[in-house]
Symmetry: C2
Subunit: 336 residues, 2 copies
DNA sequence: ATGAAAGCGCTAACAA
DNA sequence: TTGTTAGCGCTTTCAT
């Protein structure tokens, strides 16, 4: 059977294509009777509007792209879900872009914005630099950011207060009586790492504990990387009694290293991580971890972004700093 | 700065728009010299082709939609990654559709196909019935299927040999000396459940063990559901020495129930699951589990689907039955 | 090897 | 409230 177009409906309902379009798009300047006629024709013809034509004419794709480094990582999956659900409820679609941990791929996906495949692009903790990203926003492309903040009048962001986050963990350790606290940081050049290091140092200072350079090392956010970094740390120093890992993967790496080295958690070493992934509740002792509201971060940003595109500008607020909360479990309790 | 279109490039290069289009699309009937001229103009104008125009005219979106019930579940994430990576390497984009476990949403996403937002749709273990899906394929829409098989000349599928999978697990249990083996099945009406039940029964028969109705119960693939189902089972019978759970979540539920009931794994009860999720390696004892090549299933299907759309029909094979492999760990070894 | 011309299917000014 | 008329930006016959 031939697929019908708007002109077919118009003829059958004895109106103009414009009127059909109005009915389709819920314009309120259509007579109820006319509308009924049109609806009838649509039904009889099994008419379904062709989205390609609509896009071209209206210059809108109603589609967002979300770029992450690895879809499989639960951190990203959770954020994507927040984005997708919010987008869908606002009649937007979501293109998924798996950058496979390659900065070059992130760059490639930016072309989706330029060639008008999508109306906006959301970057989740990208490897691109602030400047590289800002260029696009400057050129009028709509970009949203999750997990990082860039000062730009047009770029909505949602991100965690990393200083506060790190501070909270260290305060907790101090309360448990720890004085020598190591920090397994992420990539040295990452924003997050900087901020968390700041929070770490701040909290130490507040507690009157001197900062020591060799109690800090960097990992790559992987279990293996955490394991290695911990061993490295341990080869220099063996007097620390607590470790703050920049994420749970690295905390798991610490667990692995401790198993090998015969270090008992939490008696000889307290451990805490970030993300509060499901796994932290299945290993023994369960890992204390900082939980970020990932789903909400995705959803809020998306709402804001779409709002901005549609010029519903209560342009007051573009930047959402969200609070994380430390979930204390056995890995950091009951220390001496 | 004004954004330029194909006509601007044509003028600047002193050729026709058609020629520019040919260059853009890598047609080989373009003089090398002409091509160079056009490329130069493109560069000078920073010309970027507009995808909306292209789509409308070529009647192709170069986009796939993939429908899953919950993006966050690692089972789906892994498949999606396979799909996305393959699609991308073939210059296709992927729309992500989170059905939030609602059949109604799955239906809604089918409209993406009908209104030409995407060229094809991939359903991953959908809740829709075979008939509901087949209707669309009959009407000429391109649909691919993962985790289920539907006999249809136009519908590529990739799915696991569930009979074999279940058989393998039971054979393993029998080899370990078990004779009373329980089966925590998934939804009673699911394809997979049927097939696995068949494999279970078959293996028992081969081992000369009579099938007993009350050694089988159904769960909902969740940890909680598995826990409950196990307790239910256990309230009728307490003589079985092994449990085969239809997925790892349910196996985790069994672990939970056993912890509550004081049953020791694997000494008093051997356990095995399906999916071999990461968690199975972090609980103690580690859970024996059947691993499916999810990434590959996604990738293969996608390749086939795209191939089919582009009429590269070595139409011989549409159906990919893949083998899963049992990874034996501590939860099912060392039983009496 | 290149160009001219005709749309793909729809919406948005502008008129009426 | 409805219709008329132009395109949105591109590709693709059909000529040449």
């Amino acid at each position: 059977m031939k697929v019908s177009k708007i002109i077919d409906v118009a003829k059958k309902a004895d109106v103009s294509p414009a009127t059909v379009s109005r009915v389709l798009n819920g314009s309120n300047l259509v007579n109820a009777k006319t509308k009924a006629k049109v609806m009838q024709a649509i039904r009889e013809l099994d008419y379904i509007p062709n989205n390609m034509g609509k896009q071209l004419r209206s210059r809108k794709t109603m589609t967002l792209a979300v770029v992450v480094s690895d879809i499989r990582v639960s951190y990203y999956a959770e954020i994507i879900k927040g984005i997708e659900n919010m987008a869908n409820s606002l009649h937007y679609k979501v293109l998924i872009c798996d950058a496979q941990n390659q900065k070059a791929k992130e760059f490639e996906f930016l072309s989706l914005l330029m060639n008008r495949t999508v109306d906006a692009l959301i970057l989740v903790t990208p490897n691109l630099s602030d400047e590289e990203i800002a260029v696009y926003a400057d050129n009028g492309y709509t970009i949203g950011l999750i997990g990082r903040k860039i000062e730009h009048p047009q770029m909505p962001c949602s991100f965690t207060d990393n200083v506060k986050l790190a501070r909270e963990v260290i305060v907790h350790f101090v309360e448990q009586g720890h004085r020598k606290i190591a920090f397994l940081c992420g990539y040295a050049d990452a924003m997050d790492s900087q901020a968390r290091l700041e929070g770490y140092m701040k909290a130490l200072q507040e507690a009157g504990i001197p900062y020591e350079d060799d109690l800090v090392d960097n990992g790559d956010f992987s279990e293996e990387g955490g394991c290695e970094a911990f061993k490295r740390l341990r080869s220099h120093r063996s007097d620390f009694t607590a470790v703050f890992a920049a994420n749970d993967e690295m905390a798991l790496g610490v667990y692995k290293a401790c198993a090998e080295l015969g270090i008992s958690i939490p008696d000889q070493l307290a451990v805490a991580g970030v993300d509060n992934i499901r796994l932290t509740n299945y290993v023994r002792p369960r890992i204390s971890s900082v939980e970020q509201p990932l789903y909400a971060m995705g959803a809020v940003m998306t709402e804001k972004l779409i709002d901005q595109m549609n010029d519903n500008v209560w342009a007051d607020k573009r930047s959402f700093k969200v609070d994380a909360r430390l979930v204390v479990k056995e890995s950091s309790k009951g220390a001496e």
